[in-house]
Symmetry: C2
Subunit: 194 residues, 2 copies
DNA sequence: TGATAACCGGGGCGCTCGTTCCGTATAGTG
DNA sequence: CACTATACGGAACGAGCGCCCCGGTTATCA
């Protein structure tokens, strides 16, 4: 079945739907009603379903671009001369995205095969930073993902005003310092590792 | 309106509903259908509404005990001889609760007037630890709440198996170390970057 | 034990939201 | 300009869920 070219108006509407969905999801998360997305796009709900078989497919389409961007960023940073800076820069970038995009946790959770690519890229970034001695050795990708997810949720907890940019930066500072190698002297937290 | 004593069976059913609600909320979060709570309790939905005017009231009733317990713990720790240990011990306790209780974030978010008490107790705990030099000075109660919430969400991300107790401990270690005062040498932790 | 008031169960209402269907409008074509 | 495939819009359907109501049941007390 050769995908025959879309009609001009159909193509236009598809773009409008994608744009509206991106904004709506970012604003209200995955739970935003599909009718509202349609309304924002200036089309009927039926039109949305002509282009996407289900709501989740639409979300996937919206989120894929963002995740791919994240993956690309992670891969680019993976070759930086300063692995520690690259790693923590990526962390700060994720935190920054979380401030405006309310759907980032869902995006990370749902994104199907891209999830593996993202995790793999993160893994490289993490290992290189650890080998350079910039990140503590007792955290793996699992822990990192959990920390990212928690950080994102914690950041977007309060109102979306300008005041919580400062809050975001302090949270990033705490997690950043916590990810650094522990001081040689005190082994209070770092118990035996497996 | 003197609350006249409840009939024996009513009292029994009220307890059954509370127990079922506690389990159901802990297992599936606030979104668990009220019908399922009623079914677990072995009563009809109507019976639930005889005792609680709305679902949220039931949730409040369930959560109040837990929050009050947390507040009591925080207050007790506030007078400990080791403010730092008390603070981080409380943090570990919250993390531990998060492992089993899926509704902790909602609990913290919803609990009405108790929220203020909890925040106040947390504030005391935090300030004392900061004055003792055990916790960095640039975090406030706001940041702490956000970190707690994020930590809880991050911890309960994966499957509820036994394997993620290790994951939980590592996350707690990261946040704990991140909350410690920064090393004297490098003060600028999370500056702005590209 | 019988009268009375409190209580129980579950069927049902109203609302939200994802999804589908069909009559109508329009882009593309000879 | 007419004709057809394609797309549009929105009304309608069905499922899930919070909440309410009423006929039947049960505890309590004289």
């Amino acid at each position: 079945m050769p995908d025959r070219p879309l009609r001009a108006d159909a193509r236009r509407n598809r773009e409008k739907v994608l744009r509206a969905a991106r904004d709506a999801f970012a604003e209200s998360g995955y739970d935003v009603p599909l009718d509202e997305i349609a309304a924002r796009a200036g089309v009927g709900p039926g039109t949305v379903y002509r282009h996407f078989p289900a709501k989740e497919a639409l979300f996937q389409a919206v989120v894929t671009a963002r995740i791919e961007d994240l993956i690309g960023d992670a891969r680019a940073r993976a070759t930086a001369v300063d692995p520690g800076g690259a790693f923590f820069g990526f962390l700060a970038r994720v935190a920054q995205e979380a401030t405006a995009k309310r759907d980032l946790p869902d995006a990370i959770a749902i994104a199907g095969s891209l999830q593996d690519s993202l995790y793999a890229a993160l893994d490289v970034l993490l290992r290189r930073a650890q080998e350079a001695g910039a990140v503590r050795a007792d955290v793996g990708t699992r822990e990192l993902i959990a920390l990212f997810k928690g950080m994102v949720v914690g950041i977007r907890g309060g109102p979306a005003g300008a005041a919580n940019e400062a809050l975001r930066d302090r949270i990033v500072a705490v997690i950043t310092d916590g990810l650094r190698p522990p001081r040689a002297a005190d082994a209070g937290t770092a118990a035996s590792n497996s």
